[in-house]
C-alpha cells in the first residue's frame, strides 16, 4: 500500500516533538542552572554589560 503524506500533520507533530525535546533539555540542564541567578540587574545600575 502506498504511504500517504500529510505535510501539515508532519509539521505539527515535529513541532510538538521539538517542544518536548526542548523541555527535556531544560530539565536536563536544571541541575546545572539551579544554583545560578538570571543575568538581570537587581539594582538599577545601568551598565551595558560587564566583561
Amino acid at each position: 500500500m502506498k504511504a500517504s503524506f500529510n505535510p501539515l500533520l508532519t509539521v505539527i507533530i515535529a513541532a510538538a516533538v521539538g517542544a518536548v525535546l526542548g523541555i527535556l533539555a531544560v530539565s536536563v540542564g536544571t541541575s546545572q542552572l539551579a544554583n545560578t541567578t538570571p543575568a538581570k540587574v537587581d539594582q538599577p545600575i545601568i551598565v551595558y554589560g560587564e566583561r
Binding site: 503524506f5 505535510p7 508532519t10 509539521v11 515535529a14 513541532a15 516533538v17 521539538g18 517542544a19 525535546l21 526542548g22 523541555i23 533539555a25 531544560v26 536536563v28 540542564g29 546545572q32 542552572l33 545560578t36 538570571p38 543575568a39 538581570k40 540587574v41 537587581d42 539594582q43 538599577p44 545600575i45 545601568i46 551598565v47 551595558y48 554589560g49 560587564e50 566583561r51
Partner: protein, 587 residues
C-alpha cells in the same frame, strides 16, 4: 491563448511538494522557534539591551539615519517600523525574531549537501543553537541575528554559481534568503563577504564576485549615504576596542572559547555552564569534529570547502585580534585612521562564517554516521548542540520575558508627535540605557529615540563595567556640554534647537532635574514621565520631511531588491545577483 506552463502547477501543489522535500528543515525551524521563543510569543514587548520596540513607532529621524548618531539602525529599523505599522509592534518584534531563527535553521539545513533528514536537522540545529546565537539573543540584537540567518542562503547562491547549477526556484530562494544580510548592518555585511568571497575567488568567478559586490553596495547605500551625510568621520573611542574584545568564557582561553563560537564580550551574555571543564571540552570536541568532517568531506568541490574555511579563519583572526595586545594596538591604529573600521569592534560577530562551517560539518558527520553507527549515537550527535547548551531553551531559561509599556508613554508620545513645530527632544537622565522596574530592571536602550518622530538627543556613551565608552554623536556632545553648565540649561538647549525635554523620573539620577529648567513650560507630568517645553528664542522651524539623502539611499536599495527578486527583470537580475554569467567566468 493562455497555456499553463507544464513546470508550474498551482502554488498549493508546489508548496506541498516543497514541504514534502524540505519537511525536516521546516519542522526544525518551527521547533526551534517554539522551544527558544516559546515563553515570549504572547502579547507584550521583549525589552532588553539593544532590543527596543515601542508601540506605534513613527518613521522618525532614527529610521532614516538623520538623527546625528551613527546610523546603526539603518536599514533594519525601517523594516521594524514598517512591519510594526502593519501588524503591531509587539507582534512585529516576535515575527522578526522568530523569522530570523527560522531562516537560520532552514537555511543551514538546506545548504548542507546531505540526504538524510537527521543530517540536515543536525546542521540546522547546530547553526541556530550555539553560544553565538545565545549571546546575540541575550543582548537583543535581532538585526544581527537576521543578518546571520541570511548567510547560509548567501552561501547557497555561491554553491549554485560554482557548481553552475541551472537557474530555478532553488536559486531564487537562495537569493531571496541571502538579501536579509543587509539587516545586520556593516558588520554582518563584512561577515557575508568573508563567507562568500574566498570561494568565488578560488573558483575564479570574477563576474559573480562583482555581481555580489554590486548587490551589497546597492543594499547598503542607505547606510553609506547616512554615514557620509553626517560628515563621514567617526571619532570612535579607542577604549571600545578592549571593552568589546573577545573574552574567555570557557577554561579553554580566548581561542578555545572563540573556536566553540563563544567569547562574547559581555560576561552575562555567555551561557551558563561553559566555564565548566566537561562542558567546554565537549563543546571543543564537537567543534573540532565538525570542522574535520567539513574539511575531509568531498561532497563539495575544493573551492567551496576551502573558501568557507578561509572565511572562517579570517573571522577567527578578527575575533581574537583585540584580545591580543599587539592585535589590539593594530586595531586601535586602524580605527583612528579608517572611519568605518569600527565595525570590527565586538569582533566575535565575525565568527558567523565559522558557525556556518561547523553546522555544515556536523551535518556531514551525522550523514557519515547514519549508516555506520547506531541510531542512539546518531541521535546524540544530532542533539549535541542542545545537550551542550541546554540554557538556550525556553527563552534562555526564563531570561527573556515580555512586558507592557506604562500608559504615560502613549500620552506623551501623542503630545510630542502631534506638534507640527520642529526642534529636537532631549531625553533625561543623561544615560544611554534605562533600567525599568516594570521591565525587570534589565538594561535596555532608551526607547525615546524610537518613540518620537523628531530627532531625540540622548547620551550615546555606554558603560562596560566601570569603563565609559564615549559615543559618536556630535549633537549629543553639544547637549551634554549645555547640561553640564551651571544654572538653567534651557536657553543653551534652545540655541541647539531643542524644543522638548523628557525626564524619566523613575530612573537613577532623575532627582532634581526638573527643577533645573526654571523657565520651561510643564506640558505633562504623567506617571514616571515629565515633559517640558523650552521657551525663549531659538530656531524652531517646522518639522522637516524625510530628506533627500534617505530617499536616494532607499530608492537604490528598493531598485536592487526589485532587480534581485522580480522575474520581469531577469536580465538585470542576472547581471547583479545570480551569477549566471558563470559560463563567461569559466571561459
Amino acid at each position: 491563448m493562455h497555456r499553463p506552463s507544464p513546470t508550474r502547477g498551482p502554488w498549493r501543489r508546489r508548496a506541498a511538494a516543497g514541504l514534502r522535500r524540505r519537511w525536516p528543515e521546516c519542522a526544525l525551524g518551527f521547533g526551534v522557534v517554539l522551544v527558544i521563543l516559546g515563553p515570549v510569543l504572547g502579547p507584550g514587548y521583549l525589552l532588553r539591551y539593544d532590543l527596543v520596540f515601542v508601540p506605534d513607532p513613527p518613521f522618525g529621524a532614527m529610521v532614516w539615519g538623520s538623527d546625528g548618531a551613527l546610523p546603526r539602525a539603518v536599514p533594519s529599523e525601517l523594516l521594524a517600523v514598517g512591519l510594526s505599522r502593519l501588524i503591531g509592534a509587539d507582534v512585529a518584534q516576535k515575527v522578526l525574531l522568530a523569522g530570523a531563527l527560522l531562516l537560520a535553521a532552514v537555511g543551514a539545513a538546506r545548504l548542507t549537501p546531505v540526504g538524510h533528514p537527521a543530517a540536515r536537522i543536525a546542521a540546522g540545529l547546530c547553526y541556530v543553537w550555539n553560544p553565538w546565537v545565545y549571546g546575540r539573543l541575550h543582548l537583543g540584537q535581532w538585526a544581527i541575528i537576521a543578518g546571520y540567518a541570511a548567510l547560509p542562503w548567501a552561501y547557497a547562491w555561491v554553491v549554485g554559481v560554482i557548481r553552475a547549477q541551472p537557474a530555478g526556484v532553488g536559486r531564487r530562494a537562495a537569493i531571496a534568503g541571502g538579501l536579509p544580510v543587509v539587516l545586520g548592518g556593516p558588520a554582518l555585511v563584512l561577515a557575508a563577504v568573508l563567507t562568500c568571497a574566498p570561494a568565488l575567488v578560488l573558483a575564479r568567478r570574477w563576474r559573480a564576485l562583482a555581481a555580489g559586490g554590486a548587490t551589497l553596495v546597492g543594499l547598503t547605500l542607505p547606510w553609506q549615504l547616512a554615514f557620509l551625510d553626517r560628515g563621514g568621520a567617526v571619532d570612535l573611542d579607542e577604549r571600545g576596542i578592549a571593552a568589546f574584545a573577545a573574552r574567555a568564557d570557557t577554561p579553554l582561553g580566548v581561542l578555545g572559547s572563540v573556536l566553540t563560537l563563544g567569547g562574547v564580550w559581555n560576561r552575562h551574555a555567555a551561557p551558563v555552564g561553559r566555564d565548566q571543564w566537561p562542558v567546554a571540552l565537549f563543546a571543543l570536541a564537537l567543534a573540532t569534529s565538525a570542522v574535520a568532517a567539513f574539511l575531509l568531506s568531498r561532497r563539495w568541490p575544493p573551492a567551496l570547502r576551502w573558501g568557507l574555511a578561509i572565511g572562517a579563519l579570517l573571522g577567527i583572526v578578527i575575533a581574537v585580534a583585540a584580545a591580543w595586545p599587539p592585535g589590539e594596538r593594530m586595531l586601535v591604529g586602524l580605527v583612528e585612521h579608517v572611519p568605518v573600521a569600527g565595525i570590527v569592534r565586538d569582533g566575535t560577530r565575525m565568527l558567523a562564517p565559522l558557525a556556518l562551517l561547523q553546522a555544515v560539518g556536523l551535518g556531514l558527520l551525522v550523514q557519515s554516521l547514519v549508516t555506520s553507527a547506531g541510531r542512539a549515537a546518531t541521535a546524540i550527535l544530532v542533539l549535541a548542540p542542545v545537550l551542550v547548551l541546554p540554557g538556550m531553551a525556553w527563552g534562555l531559561t526564563g531570561q527573556l520575558d515580555t512586558v507592557r509599556y506604562p500608559p504615560e508613554w502613549a500620552s506623551v508620545r501623542a503630545v510630542v508627535n502631534d506638534d507640527p513645530a520642529g526642534g529636537s527632544l532631549v531625553s533625561l537622565p543623561w544615560s544611554s540605557f534605562r533600567a525599568y522596574r516594570w521591565a525587570g530592571n534589565v538594561p535596555v536602550l532608551d526607547p525615546a529615540p524610537r518613540a518620537f518622530r523628531r530627532p531625540v538627543v540622548g547620551d550615546q556613551d555606554v558603560l562596560v563595567g566601570r569603563e565609559r565608552i564615549r559615543g559618536e554623536s556630535r549633537a549629543a556632545e553639544r547637549v551634554a556640554a549645555a547640561l553640564a553648565g551651571p544654572g538653567d540649561p534651557g536657553p543653551a538647549l534652545r540655541r541647539l534647537d531643542v524644543r522638548y525635554v523628557l525626564i524619566q523620573t523613575d530612573q537613577p539620577g532623575a532627582g532634581g532635574l526638573e527643577g533645573r529648567f526654571i523657565d520651561a513650560d510643564l506640558v505633562r507630568r504623567d506617571g514616571a514621565l515629565t515633559l517640558l517645553r523650552l521657551t525663549g528664542d531659538g530656531p524652531t522651524p517646522a518639522q522637516g520631511g524625510i530628506g533627500t539623502v534617505p530617499v536616494m539611499g532607499y530608492s537604490v536599495l528598493t531598485a536592487t531588491l526589485l532587480i534581485a527578486l522580480l522575474r520581469p527583470t531577469k536580465r538585470l537580475r542576472r547581471m547583479l545577483l545570480s551569477g549566471h554569467l558563470v559560463g563567461r567566468d569559466r571561459q
